[in-house]
Amino acid sequence: MKNYLPMALPCCIWKRSDHLASRSLVFPILFLIIIFSSTAGYAQTRAVRGLVRDENGAGLQGASILVKGLSKGVNSGADGRFIIELPGNTDSLIITNIGYETQKVAVQAGSTPEIWMKKGINTLNDVVVIGYGSQRKRDVTGSVATIDLSATKDVPVANPTRLLVGQVPGVVAKQNTGRPGGEFNVTIRGLGSLGAGSQPLYVVDGFPIGNSIGQNLNPNDIENISILKDAVSTAIYGARGSNGVVLITTKNAKLGQSSLNVVSNYGVQNIPSGRRVKMLNGPDFAQFRKDIFMDKIRYFEGREPSVDEVPLDFRYPEQTKRTTNWFESILHNNAPFQNHNITLAQGNGNFHSLLSAGYQRQEGILRGTSFDNYSVRANIDGKANNFITVGLKVNGSFSTNHLANGTEGRGALVGSTLIMDPRDPIYNDDGSFHSYIGGHDGSFGFANPVQSLKEVKISQQNGQLLSNGFVEISFLRNFKFKTAASAFLNYATYKQFIPSTIAGQNAPPPRDAFESDTTAIVRNYSVDQLLTYSNNFGEHRVNVLAGYTAQNELTRGLKATGSQYPNDLTPFLGSAALKTAGSSEYEWSTTAFFGRINYAYGEKYLLSGTFRREGSSRFGEKVRYGNFPAFSAGWRVLNESFMPKIQWLTDLKLRGSWGITGNNNIGNYRSLAFMSSNNYVLGNNFAPGEVVGSLANPLLGWERSKQVDIGIDIAAFQDKLSFTAEYYDKITSDMLLPIQIPSISGFTSYLANVGKVKNTGVEFAARYKTRVNSVGLWANANVSINRNKILEIRGTNDQILNGEFYSGYNISRVGRPIGMLYGYKVLGIFNTQDQIDKAPKQDGAIPGVYQYLDYDKSGTISYDTKDMVEIGNPWPKFTYGFTVGGDYRNFDFSVLLNGAYGYDIYRNIESSTMNMDGVFNVLEASKQRWRSASNPGNGKYATTNTWKWERESNTRYVYSGSHMWVKNVSVGYTLAKKNVVFKSLRLYASADNLFLITKYPGANPDVDNRGGINPGNDEEAYPLTRTLTFGANFTF
C-alpha cells in the first residue's frame, strides 16, 4: 500500500484539478509538504483537508463527505473546506451534495483534494424534502418523489401545477380547461374519496396553504417540488394527508454564489386545426332544416311534401346568404404568452438572500380573456451567531384574470358556438353587433359570443402576501429548536357586469343589466414549534422530531349585486336602481402534536415512525380529535456482507410502510345544522322567518385512509440508472358522504361517515443519465396503474347516481370503480316498424331511433334508469410520462410525452351537437344520419323525426379517451463562455401541447367538466392551445 499510494493519489488529484493548475503553482508545492508531514504525523488515522467547489469554482457549503465503507462523515464548511479523519486501509472519499453528481475521490493521508462538483439530475444521494424536514434520499423508506425541475425549465408555465405533468408516477395532473393561468387538476394515487375533496395538500416552504395552489405563486421561484404519496410520508400532516402532499420549496441563493439572472420568454398560442370541431355551415344547416321538415311530413303524413310547404327561411338552402363559423369567431389567434423574471442571488457571507421579481402574462385564446401576475419575493436566511439561524421569506403578488362569461359546459360560451345558428352574421350591415343569434324559424336563441366577449366585463383580482419566518437555535450539540410562523393573506375581488345589450338563452335583448361584485379576504396563519435531535452512535443514526402546530383560517366576504341600470355606461353599483348586499364569514382551526423518529443502522437497516394527534374545528364535538400513526422500514440489501459484490449495482433498497391519514376537506361547520332565513309577509310588511337549513350530525368525524406501500429502489451503473417500483393499497373509510335520505325527512341528504373505497396500484419510475464524450443523454419514464373499487357505501342503498336523463350519468356502486358511465346500451337503429313491433316495447319509438337493451328483461324499455347499465369506465388502465433529453456541445433538447390508456369519455356536448331536431347546429357527421330504411346512413346517427329514444344517456356518446400528448418539445443553446457582459447566456425555444395522438373526437381528452366522483364528462371547456415560445436566460 504505502508503496503505491503516494504515487497514485497525486495523479488523481492532478487530473481533477488540471484546469486549476494554470492558475496557481502553489498547490503542487503545498501538496508535497502536506503529504510528507502527514505520513510522518499520523500512523493509524490520518487527516485529509480538502475543498469542495461548485461548477463555477466557488466553495460549496454543506456537501457531505464520507469515507467509503463507513457511515461516518463530515460536511464542508461555509467556504467549502473540510477536514476528515481517514482510518487505516481506506483509500477513497465519497462527496455528495443536493443537486450535484456524487464524486468518488481516491485519497491518502495528508492529501488536500479539491473536488469540483458537477450539477446533476437527482440521484440516490440527494437530500429530499419531506414533511417538516429533509432526509437523504437513500434513507427514505416512504414514497417520496421529487419533480425534476430541470426537465421543465424551458416550458411556458403559467401555473405551478403544470410542472407536475408526466414527471412522477402516481401523480395525475390534468389540464381540464385552457383558461389562462388555470390550475391543473391534480390527484395523487387515485380518487380517495366519494364525498370530501380529493385534491392533495399543498405546502409551500413548510406552510400548509390548502388544497389549491392558486394562481399567484411564480413558478420561476420554485427550487424543489416533493410529492409525498404514502402514509408514512403524509401522516405527519394528519387530517389533511390522505390525498397526498405536494411540498414546494422556494429558491434561495447557493452559498458562495452570487448572480443576477434574467429570464425572458415570449410566445404565441393557437388552436391546431385538428382540434377544432367541424359543424355544418350556413347553407348546409339550411339544407338540414329543410330535410328535417320534409322527412317529418314523409314519415308522419306518409306523403311527399311540395317545396312550397317548406318555410321560406330554409326553402332554398343554396340561397343562404351568410355563413359564420362561430367557434372561429371567438378565437384570438396568435394570443401572446410572456414570462419575465429577474433574480438576484447573494450567497456570500453569513446571510444569503434571493430577491426576485416576475411578470407573467397569458392572453387567452378566447378574445378578451387574459391572465397576468406580478410577483416579488425576498428570501433571506443565515446565521445570527454560531447557534442561531434565522430566515424570512416574503412573497407579494397580484394577479388579474379577465374572464369570459362562462366557458365550461354545454350551454356556456364555447359549447354554444358549436350549436348556434350558422346562418346569422356576427355584425349587422351597419357594423353593429347582430346581438341575437338564432331565435328565428325554430332555432335556439343565443347571445352573440363575440359581443359577449367584448361587452361582458368579468375580472378577478388576487392580491396575495405569503410569508414565513423562523428562528432555529442549536443547543447541546445535537438538539435544534425551531419556531416558525407563516401567514397567508389574500384579498380577492370579483366583478362582473353584463350590459343590457347581451341576449339571454332564447331571450332577445335588451336584458336587465346586471352587476355582481364580490370581495373576500382570507387570513391564514400557522405557528409551528419543532424540536429535533439527531445523533450518530457508531453505526446507529437517530433523528427525532417533535412538534406542535396550530393553524387558523378566517374568510370574510362581501357580495353585492346591482340591476336596473339607466344605461350601460356606468357599470358601478352606484348607478343601479336596485341593489342587494350580503356578507359572510367562516373560520376553521386545527391544532396538532406530532413526532417522528428516523433510525438507521449501519447503512443497512432503516426504520421510521410518525404520529400526529390532531383536532379540527370542522368536526362534531364528540369526534373532534384524531390520531394518525404510521411506520416504515427499509433494508439496503446491497450493504449486507452476505451479498455478493455486483459490479454494476450501486444500491438496492427494499422498503415498506403502513399508516393512517385523514381528510377533512369537507367545508366548514358541516356537522352542525343552522336556521336559514325564509321570510314572509304579514300585514303587507316584511315578516322575518326561519326554517331549518339541514340535518345536523354531531358524530361527523374524520375520513380515514389506511395505506400500505411496498417499494424497491435500485441504483446501478454509478447511479446513472435508478429504478423504483412500488405497490400500494389504500383503503379510505368513514367517508364524509352526503347520504341521500327519503325526502319525507324534510331533506334530501345529510352528511355522515360511511363507505369505503379502495385504491390499489403499482408505479414504476426509471431515470437514466449518461454521457459519452460531448453527448449527454438522459431519460425519465414513469408508468402508473391505479384501480379503484368501492367496498361499501351505506347499508341498504349501495349506489350513488349523479347526472341527468338527457346528459349522462355517473354511477358509483359497491364492488365497482367510482363514477362509472351509465346509460342505455344501444343495440342499433330501428330500420322498420316491423323491427320495433318485434323488439321489447319502446313507447313512442319510430324507425330511425335507437334500439336499447332491455336490461331488466321486463319486455319494456322504461323511460327511466331501470334499463340502464354501465356503459364506460372513465378510469385509465394506466397513465404514463416519458421525458427524454440530451445535449451536444452547446445544444440541448428535451421532449415530454404523457398520456393515458384505456378509458372512456362521455361526450355529452354531442347531446347538443347531435341533437337532431333542428333547434341547434349539428356536426358535419350528421350528414351520415338515418333518413329512411333504404338510406340508413352510417348506422350511428338517429333520425330527425323525433327527440325520443335518441338523446337519452346512452352508449352512442361514449368514446375511448386513450391518448398520447407530445406535451412539450424544447431546444436550447447555451453560450457558456464567459464574456464581459454576462457569465452565461442561454437561448431556447419550446412548443407546449405540440401534438395530440388520439382517436377521441373532442378537443381535449383530459376534459372533466363535472370532476370528483362524476368523471369523464365532456361538455366542452375553454380550449387548450399549442404554445410556441422563445426565451433567453442571461446570467450576469
Binding site: A507, V527, S563, Y680, N684, N685, V691, S743, D864
Partner: protein
C-alpha cells in the same frame, strides 16, 4: 436581526393561546344553530313565518300540476327550445313520468314544508311562551299541514304520513304510504284543531295569517272532496257568519292594492318593491314568450309563455261575463305570426320595479266557499233556493243574470262551469275535475279537449308537428307518479299503478 428573535419569542408566548379548547370550537357566525332556536315567542313566531314562507315556493309552481294539464291553459310553444319537452311541456302533453324533475321538486318541497311545520309544533312545546298564544300558533301550523297533505293526497293518492320530525335519519326508511282515508283523517283532525284555535280575524299587522275562516273553508273543501256533503255544509255555514263578502268588482279580488280584502279567505302573501326578496313574479312566467315588455311593462323582460289561456276556456265565458276581461288578456299579437297570444291577466298589474310584482296568490276566496256550498247542497238531493242564492250571487257579481229551474244534474253542470270561469288560473281546475269525474270520465274529457287543442292550437306551433306521444291521457294519469328517486332510495315504497 434582533427583531426577528424577539418576534420568535413572542410566538413562543402565543403558543399556549392556541392550546385553548375554544380554539377548535367554531360555529357559523352567520347562522343560528338549530339547537339554540325555538326558545321564546319571537323565535316561535319566526319559525311559523318560515313555514308560511315555504308555501310561497309551492304556490309559485302549482299551475304546472293544477292548470296546465287541464282544459284551462296551454303553452306558448317555442320551436327553438325543446329542452322543456320532458319537463314543463310534459304537463301540457300528458307525457310526465316518474322521472319528471318537476314532480320530484314538488314532492320534496311539500315534505320540506311539512318538516318545518312538524318540527316547530314539537320544539315550541318547550319554548317559553304564554299558554294563550299556543292554540293560535298551533292552529296556523296545523292549517298549513292540512293544506299540504290535502294537495299531496290529491296529487298522488296514498302518501306517506309523517307528523313529527324523525328521531334518527334511518327512520326515514320505515315510513310507507298510508291509505287516503288515513291521510284524510289526519287532515280533518288538523283542520278541526285549527278552526278551534284560530281567531276569526287578526289586527292589521297579522293580516295574511291563517284564520278560523280559512280552516273551515278548507275543511269544507276536504269534505266536499270526500263527498261528505252534510259535514261540508256544516263547516261552510260557519264561514258565512264570519263577515266575508264578495267584492263588487271581480278584478279587485286580485288587485295588489286591495290585498286581503273582504272576499279573501286565505292567500299566499308577497310584497313587491321590497328589498327583502318577498316579491312575486307570476306574470313573468305567464306572459307570452315574445311579449318583452308588452304585458309586464318592462322591455327587458323575456317572459316564459307558460300557462296560456286556451281558446276553449276563452270561449267558455258567457257573453257579458265581466270576469273574462279581468282574467284573460287578448291584446298581444305575436311578432312572428301576427296572431293573438292570450295571457292570464289576473296577475298582471303594473309594478314599479322590473321583475318584482306585488301580487298575492289567492288560495281560498269567498266566491269559492259560496260555490262549494251550493254544490254540497245540490249533491244532497236537488238545488234549493239557498243553493241558487249562493250560485246567483257569484253570477250577479260577474254581471250575469240568475239561473233557475235546473235539475240536479244541470245545476251540477252549471256549478262546474261557474267554478271554471270564476276560479280560472287559481289552481283549482285539476282538483275540481278529479272531484267531479271518475278516472275514465277524466280520460275521455281530457282526450276530447286535447283533440280540439291539437287540431287548432291556441298558439301556433310554427309548422312543428306534434310528437306521436303528445296528448294521450290514460286512466292511470289520474294521479301523478311518485318520484322515481324516492322509490330507488326506499325500495319498499310502491309506485302508482302503470307508472
Amino acid at each position: 436581526m434582533k427583531s426577528i428573535i424577539k418576534l420568535s419569542l413572542l410566538l413562543l408566548v402565543l403558543l399556549p393561546v392556541a392550546c385553548k379548547k375554544s380554539y377548535l370550537e367554531k360555529s357559523d357566525p352567520t347562522g343560528i344553530n338549530t339547537d339554540l332556536f325555538y326558545k321564546d315567542q319571537k323565535q316561535v313566531d319566526q319559525a311559523v313565518n318560515g313555514a308560511y314562507g315555504t308555501l310561497q315556493g309551492i304556490a309559485g309552481n302549482q299551475w304546472l300540476f293544477n292548470e296546465l294539464p287541464t282544459d284551462n291553459t296551454t303553452i306558448d310553444f317555442n320551436p327553438g327550445d325543446r329542452g322543456q319537452a320532458p319537463r314543463l311541456e310534459s304537463f301540457e302533453y300528458f307525457t310526465w313520468n316518474s322521472g319528471t324533475p318537476n314532480i320530484n321538486d314538488m314532492y320534496i318541497a311539500h315534505y320540506n314544508a311539512i318538516y318545518n311545520v312538524n318540527n316547530t309544533l314539537l320544539r315550541m312545546q318547550k319554548a317559553v311562551l304564554a299558554d294563550s298564544l299556543r292554540p293560535g300558533y298551533e292552529g296556523e301550523l296545523k292549517f298549513m299541514r292540512a293544506y299540504l297533505y290535502f294537495e299531496l293526497v290529491q296529487y298522488f293518492g296514498d302518501v306517506i304520513l309523517i307528523t313529527k320530525p324523525l328521531d334518527l335519519p334511518a327512520d326515514a326508511w320505515t315510513y310507507l304510504r298510508e291509505s287516503q282515508d288515513k291521510v284524510y283523517t289526519q287532515i280533518i283532525n288538523d283542520l278541526k284543531d285549527a278552526a278551534a284555535g284560530l281567531p276569526a280575524q287578526y289586527p292589521a299587522a297579522g293580516k295574511g295569517r291563517a284564520t278560523k275562516g280559512a280552516a273551515l273553508s278548507l275543511l269544507g273543501k276536504v269534505y266536499l272532496t270526500r263527498k261528505q256533503y252534510p259535514e261540508c255544509v256544516a263547516a261552510l255555514d260557519q264561514v258565512l257568519t264570519l263577515g266575508y263578502n264578495l267584492v263588487t268588482d271581480y278584478a279587485d279580488a286580485f288587485d295588489p292594492a286591495k290585498k286581503n280584502g273582504p272576499e279573501s279567505v286565505f292567500e299566499i302573501q308577497y310584497k313587491g318593491e321590497d328589498e327583502t326578496g318577498e316579491w312575486s313574479s307570476f306574470i313573468y312566467t305567464f306572459a307570452p314568450r315574445l311579449s318583452k315588455g308588452a304585458v309586464t311593462g318592462w322591455p327587458q323582460s323575456n317572459p316564459g309563455g307558460w300557462n296560456i289561456p286556451t281558446n276553449d276556456l276563452i270561449a267558455a265565458y258567457e257573453a257579458g261575463d265581466k270576469r273574462k276581461a279581468a282574467a284573460v288578456g287578448l291584446d298581444f299579437k305575436s311578432p312572428i305570426t301576427g296572431d293573438v297570444v292570450p295571457y292570464i291577466k289576473k296577475y298582471a298589474h303594473t309594478h314599479a320595479t322590473y321583475g318584482r310584482t306585488d301580487d298575492n296568490w289567492p288560495v281560498l276566496r269567498y266566491a269559492d266557499v259560496l260555490l262549494m256550498l251550493a254544490e254540497a247542497i245540490n249533491e244532497q238531493g236537488a238545488p234549493t233556493g239557498e243553493a241558487y242564492g249562493y250560485l246567483n250571487s257569484v253570477r250577479n257579481r260577474a254581471g250575469l243574470g240568475d239561473v233557475s229551474g235546473l235539475t240536479q244534474q244541470s245545476f251540477r253542470d252549471t256549478i262546474a262551469h261557474e267554478r271554471r270561469v270564476e276560479l280560472a288560473f287559481e289552481n283549482w281546475r285539476w282538483f275540481d275535475l278529479k272531484r267531479t269525474m271518475t278516472p275514465a270520465q277524466l280520460t275521455a274529457f281530457l282526450n276530447n279537449y286535447a283533440a280540439k287543442e291539437k287540431a287548432s292550437p291556441t298558439v301556433s306551433r310554427q309548422g312543428v308537428p306534434y310528437s306521436n306521444t303528445d296528448y294521450i291521457f290514460q286512466d292511470f294519469k289520474y294521479v301523478y307518479p311518485l318520484p322515481s328517486a324516492e322509490i330507488l332510495l326506499n325500495t319498499k315504497l310502491t309506485q302508482n299503478k302503470d307508472y
